[in-house]
């Protein structure tokens, strides 16, 4: 070795593999305005389509008159349900086993529902046309309050389902009922409650909100009549699924459908499902023979494409006097809006809500969920969370605080007392999951020590005393949240979408000079896959991350994957990447053995290549192996160096974390101040700590928004009153608190690299932390539960209702 020979540390550093805070390679184009989004696409002769939408939330459509619209210069066509019926596309299937109107067929069921699609030569003409379409409506009585949806005399919303007593998920109890889903042992749980020394019961609502990505939903379709091929560019989180859905409903052979997701400006679940806009641009392109673009505006995005949450969870815990939990009983009333368009794995009508036992060792539990129709927009997507996991985490974390209050125990102590212990993993929960790994006590204690939990409680006690003496108008709350997520959907034994197992995939192709390309079935919407996927490969096969190009989103070139949502990319696609890399490594080892003239077993891996055991100077770098793969492979071996892996995970992964929010509230105005927010995440093996930190910051900001004000609210007539960023709370950097992040590492035992996924943890764990802080602040005044969102006026109302101004 001479001075020029890189040290092991230098060779390791050059890879920028797992554990490295590698800068995001995609940011070079994003920060210079050089991203390529759907709306950047301009095809020759491209037309534009836009919707006439319903001002009513429930009305019969008597007549649609397009006479004047067609006279507007530039307007070429007005598509209605009648047009779509000629191609059998007036309705489309949803991912949840329901059907949904593409355009209003006889009636409208929610405000801003799509009624007609105007196609024109430019966006301005399309909008001019919309204003000239005359629609005659006959308003009908509405169902807005979910608790009244199943009243005997409630208006019938879905006339198309008349007489159907069974839906996709079993019997329907009422004309506005979609499904009932039950899990757990009812008798055992009822018995636990009968014997319980202490019980609590609370209706905990998680209000309707919206993922509201920066870029709205958009799509361009171009049908080539000569080839019979349909090209679709769209904001799709799951492009392959979209291709299959289109093949199934449009009856175009799947190989003649090209779906491309270019750069996507955030998804958060909003861009998983299929929307009427996609169908309408496809039909418009087929009809006109020209490319057609549809771009949703902000109001349309907030009011018509998929909402999230709207779960109303009546929650009961049974416990001993000492605070050992003995049973959990939850009933959920799930408001799905006008159509059941939830984007869950097909067999899971309430997603993985049965993770609701959380981080605690409940000996028994029972859960039932009733899904219902109302006159609201359809959806129910996983807004930066695994399917209904945020709702479940909020439910149990709020309920544990309520139990602590009833027992007169500290909420952190109650949690420590009931945690699943490290030695109990793999742990089988009462509601059917096998938790792969965890060390909850260590994480919780680290959080408590870091923030001086005991000291904060002392400070709170002093401030409460001062408040009671009339010396201050501020109250202080500590919001503890300890969440367990279930992500990485999912094993083929229980997860599919429309019958397709929820595996994911990767294809790696290494070129002769030691650089290569990795194509993956996932689809980044800002998560940084181009950066992190290359890091996994770098560590696995010793090629620098900079020499690996990652490509996603083109269904013609990427292997079939189920896309990116529900924190599934790292648990599933990340595993496929590692497994594909290992196939390459195995072949590389054979080539190296041949070239070094030793037996394969005499080689060992060393950072970026192989060396002969006991002869450290006899080495062959991966770069050299790449070259050899194209000119001197062992006899009988195929040349080239590439591999494909389809990974069917054996289990989900279970990230967890300990969060705490310290908040003061001015009772006179309801104005709150987040004094401190500490988030400890355990996502197993950490691929890129910088990206993890960024993910946590983003998710916490969303959690803050949701808990403290962000909602999709309807008035009694079904009008959306939060349809713009003026009223839909989207915090800016000014409102957003400072985030402190921390971690423990408990690798997943079944994942090839031990990673669990992190993107959604902060949203899941953050919401209960904020809400518990508000509730904890008010608890000494006698309240047990205050519903979210906790915006200023509601905090003031809580104070008023508790007699603060009396």
């Amino acid at each position: 070795m001479n001075d020029m020979t890189p040290t092991r540390e230098q060779r390791e550093a050059k890879l920028e593999g797992m554990g490295c805070k590698r800068k995001r390679v995609e940011d070079i184009r994003f920060t210079q305005g050089k991203g390529n989004y759907v709306d950047d696409l301009k095809l020759p002769g491209m037309l534009h389509g836009d919707f006439v939408r319903s001002p009513h939330s429930h009305a019969r459509v008597k007549k649609i008159d397009d006479t004047e619209a067609l006279k507007v210069p530039g307007v070429l066509a007005v598509i209605t349900a009648e047009t779509l019926k000629t191609v059998n596309l007036a309705w489309m299937p949803t991912l949840a086993g329901d059907v949904q109107m593409v355009l209003a067929d006889g009636k409208v069921l929610f405000q801003n529902q799509e009624v007609a699609f105007v196609v024109a030569t430019d966006r301005y003409a399309a909008d001019d046309g919309i204003n000239k379409v005359v629609v005659e409506y006959e308003p009908l009585p509405v169902v807005i309050d979910p608790f009244k949806a199943m009243d005997k005399d409630a208006p019938v919303l879905r006339e198309d389902l008349a007489g159907k007593t069974t839906g996709a998920h079993g019997p329907r109890k009422h004309h506005n009922h979609i499904f009932e889903w039950t899990v757990g042992d009812k008798d055992l749980t009822d018995a636990a409650f009968r014997k319980a020394e202490v019980t609590i019961k609370e209706m905990i609502s998680y209000h309707r909100t919206h993922p509201s990505p920066l870029e709205t939903c958009q799509c361009v379709c171009s049908f080539d009549k000569i080839k019979g091929e349909l090209s679709i560019w769209g904001t799709f989180q799951a492009p392959h699924v979209i291709r299959t859905v289109v093949a199934l409903i449009a009856k175009i052979p799947e190989h003649k459908i090209h779906v491309i997701s270019p750069d996507i400006g955030g998804g958060f679940g909003n861009k998983v499902g299929a929307y009427p806009g996609y169908i309408c641009v496809a039909v418009a392109s087929i009809v006109t023979g020209k490319p057609v673009k549809w771009v949703e505006d902000r109001i349309e995005n907030l009011t018509a494409t998929s909402f999230a949450r709207d779960y109303h969870m009546t929650t009961e815990i049974a416990s001993t006097k000492e605070g050992k939990v003995t049973g959990l009983r939850v009933h959920v009333l799930a408001d799905h809006g006008a159509f059941d368009a939830c984007a869950d794995p097909s067999k899971w009508p309430a997603g993985f809500f049965n993770i609701v036992t959380g981080s605690y060792d409940f000996p028994t539990a029972h859960l039932s969920v009733d899904g219902i129709y109302t006159n609201k927009a359809p959806g129910g997507v996983a807004y930066r969370c695994s399917f209904r996991v945020t709702e479940a985490a909020y439910c149990i974390e709020r309920a544990m605080d309520i139990l602590a209050q009833k027992l007169g125990m500290d909420p952190a102590e109650l949690r420590l007392k009931n945690f699943i212990k490290a030695e109990q993993f793999p742990y089988h929960s009462a509601l059917g999951w096998e938790y792969d790994s965890g060390d909850y006590h260590t994480a919780m204690r680290k959080m408590m020590e870091t923030v001086d939990y005991a000291g904060l409680r002392k400070e709170q006690a002093a401030l409460r005393a001062a408040f009671k003496r009339g010396e201050t108008r501020e109250i202080m709350g500590l919001g503890v949240s300890f969440f367990t997520e279930i992500v990485g959907a999912g094993p083929s034994k229980n997860c599919d979408i429309l019958g397709i197992a929820m595996f994911d995939s990767c294809e790696i192709r290494l070129h002769p000079t030691g650089a290569g390309i990795a194509r993956v079935g996932s689809k980044s919407q800002g998560q940084g896959h181009e950066t992190t996927w290359a890091q996994i490969i770098a560590t696995e096969i010793g090629i620098p991350a900079d020499d690996i190009m990652v490509e996603e989103g083109n269904t013609d070139t990427a292997p079939y994957g189920l896309g990116t949502y529900g924190s599934r990319s790292t648990p599933v696609a990340g595993a496929a990447i590692a497994m594909a890399a290992r196939k390459i490594k195995a072949k590389a080892q054979m080539i190296a053995a041949y070239k070094l003239e030793v037996h394969e077993d005499d080689l060992e891996w060393d950072i970026d290549g192989f060396r002969v055991k006991g002869l450290p100077e006899k080495t062959m770098s991966m770069k050299d192996i790449c070259w050899a793969a194209y000119n001197s492979v062992p006899p009988g071996m195929e040349p080239g160096l590439e591999a494909v892996s389809y990974y069917d995970p054996p289990n989900m992964t279970y990230p967890f974390g300990a969060y705490i929010c310290v908040m003061n509230i001015d009772v006179d105005t309801g104005v709150y101040k987040v004094r401190r927010f500490y988030a400890l995440d355990d996502c197993g093996t950490r691929i890129n700590p910088m990206i993890i930190e960024g993910q946590v910051h983003g998710g916490l900001t969303e959690a803050f928004a949701i808990a403290m004000g962000q909602e999709i609210r309807y008035d009694a007539d079904g009008n959306v009153v939060t349809g713009s960023f003026m009223d839909f709370f989207m915090p800016t950097a000014v409102e957003t608190p400072h985030w402190e992040t921390d971690f423990t590492v408990t690798p997943s035992p079944h994942h090839p690299i031990g990673a669990k996924g992190v993107g959604e943890s902060p949203n899941v764990g953050g919401v209960p932390a904020f809400s518990n802080a508000v509730n904890d602040a008010f608890s000494f005044l006698g309240s047990t539960h205050i519903q979210m969102p906790h915006d200023y006026w509601r905090n003031w109302k809580a104070a008023k209702d508790l007699g603060v101004f009396a």
């Binding site: 204003n131 009223d727 915090p731 800016t732 409102e735 006026w793 003031w796 109302k797």
Partner: protein
């Protein structure tokens, strides 16, 4: 969110702008910063056939002192107000208020003339102008006139502007040396209109209030001058009882709408608190 068709005009003198507005009639709208009008057009809640862009009129810009009056051209941006030493010295409450209007991007474009002339009860400047005793110069085909800010606002989006008239300048008497001032605004986030806001300008002597004006933003269809509340505190040391009385007198004239910022009861309640806090902070600043 796509506006309808319109014609665009860009005059270079006030006379030309006034001429355009009077000849084009009701279908013409002047365009200043555009923060109110353009979103309305994109929602097609406003569909003017003609936009008369005022950005080409050099005479509508600038800040100057004329004796004891500060005269501000209508097309002066909020950013330019912040950058002005004259405003910083003579009218510090204007800077304090401007900083509570939206964010820097908005303030680079938003103008004081547009803010006061639109008649939007959510805008921050109108109540402040009433508090400061400002007047507006309105120019039309038949000449120019001065209207006091207190006489200008007639209802939500209804003002004393006659068809074809343009608000060209704002004159503000310089408050007394040593005056105390404060603008207290409760809002949900940056860029939001006030849930409730109060402007106070006062003078004190020997620990007692000598003069006082109180303005209220977004607590009625128009900006309000809380005259009874101001009277209550004159001659007092702003002791708790006087503050309580003043706040109650201000609340008595509030009639906000219930909206996503909160129900009427809440908005009035915090309106009273904004008055109290503005009075206390202004008193702390008075010399």
């Amino acid at each position: 969110m796509i506006p309808g068709p319109f014609s665009y005009h860009r005059p270079v003198t006030v006379a030309d702008a006034v001429k355009l507005l009077s000849t084009l009639g009701d279908e013409a709208r002047p365009l200043a910063g555009g923060h109110s009008l353009v979103p309305m057009m994109k929602l097609r809640l406003a569909s003017p056939e003609h936009l008369v862009d005022l950005h080409g009129i050099a005479g509508l810009k600038g800040i100057r002192r004329d004796g004891n009056t500060i005269v501000i051209g209508a097309m002066t941006t909020q950013h330019e107000l912040l950058a002005s030493d004259e405003i910083g010295m003579s009218l510090p409450i204007l800077d304090e208020t401007v900083l509570l209007i939206a964010d820097p991007q908005v303030r680079y474009r938003g103008t004081i003339g547009g803010n006061v002339a639109n008649g939007d009860p959510g805008n921050d400047m109108p109540a402040l102008m009433m508090t400061l005793g400002a007047s507006y110069r309105l120019e039309g085909a038949s000449g120019a006139r001065e209207v006091a800010a207190t006489e200008f606002y007639q209802g939500a989006y209804f003002t004393a502007l006659e068809p074809g008239e343009l608000l060209t300048a704002i004159s503000i008497p310089v408050p007394a040396a040593g005056h105390g001032y404060a603008y207290e605004k409760l809002k949900r986030k940056v860029g939001d209109y006030a849930t409730a806001a109060a402007a106070v300008v006062l003078t004190m002597a020997g620990g007692k209030v000598v003069t006082c004006k109180i303005g209220l933003t977004n607590l009625s269809e128009t900006p309000l001058l809380a005259e009874d509340a101001a009277k209550v505190v004159i001659g007092t040391s702003l002791d708790p009882a006087s503050l309580k009385k003043a706040s109650a007198a201000a609340v008595a004239i509030m009639s906000p709408a219930s909206d996503a910022r909160g129900p009427v009861e809440y908005r009035k309640h915090v309106g009273g608190i904004m008055v109290t806090r503005a009075l206390q902070r202004a008193a702390g600043r008075a010399r």
